[in-house]
Subunit: 116 residues, 2 copies
DNA sequence: GAAGTATGTCGCAAATATACGACATTAAAT
DNA sequence: ATTTAATGTCGTATATTTGCGACATACTTC
């Protein structure tokens, strides 16, 4: 029943947590950073760069692709993966809105003291 | 062996994914938003607000507390939970840096076309 | 001190995530 | 056509997450 209660939350909360889950593994963070650094982006290069098997990297890629954060285009024998910068920008805005909301509310006082 | 390979990634990547994992569940997003909206913050109120049992909410609270994103101070019989806005601001900066890096790199062309 | 109330912890069951080897698939090359 | 090379998919083992009831703890109140 692990995720049975997901539907009980706002679509906004679900959306944010979905993307957060995609970033919840260092390998997927590393993949996005690697795609951002390289101009050419071939799947094989990614697997060679990470300390994981090719199979595992492929799964992480599929997970990012499922959220449309990255896109893969078949180019002959290799696959060209690129970032969906448009979506990433929207996601960035969502996170920013969330953090601004979170940092403007009731806060703990300094030195672990609660202000209540 | 699930997380055996975590150590092979950068401390920066691990840090980002750790926080992302904390936000990877809508309940925890909702908890942070709720703490931000209320000026008074009592654990019992949170459990009453969410569509989850008190036990489960308590666990989510412990998870957020483990990362120091929220802090709880015992106030007699009740516990006062507040956001650690200082840390949240630092986390916000980390996410922003990540997204800026991600959105300034190689991108997919429009209409699913890769630019490679 | 007995009773009641607010929280945290433990233990369990079910669902997901992680990781990888073995196999399938597809396209280039000979 | 056969081989080679690059990827994706399947099956599987293990670890972690999620969710909750039952119990323990601690503090207040009577």
């Amino acid at each position: 029943m692990t995720y049975a209660k997901t539907a009980a939350f706002t679509e906004e909360q679900q959306q944010l947590s979905r993307v957060a889950k995609a970033l919840a593994h260092p390998a997927r963070v590393a993949i996005i950073q690697f795609l951002a650094s390289k101009q050419t982006c071939i799947s094989g290069d990614i697997a060679a760069e990470l300390p994981l098997s090719r199979t595992t990297v492929s799964q992480h890629l599929q997970e990012l692709k499922a959220l449309d954060l990255i896109r893969g285009e078949i180019d002959g024998l290799t696959v060209c993966y690129c970032l969906n910068t448009e979506l990433l920008q929207r996601v960035h805005q969502q996170f920013t809105a969330f953090f601004i909301e979170a940092t403007s509310g009731a806060a703990c006082g300094p030195d672990d003291a609660c202000a209540c």
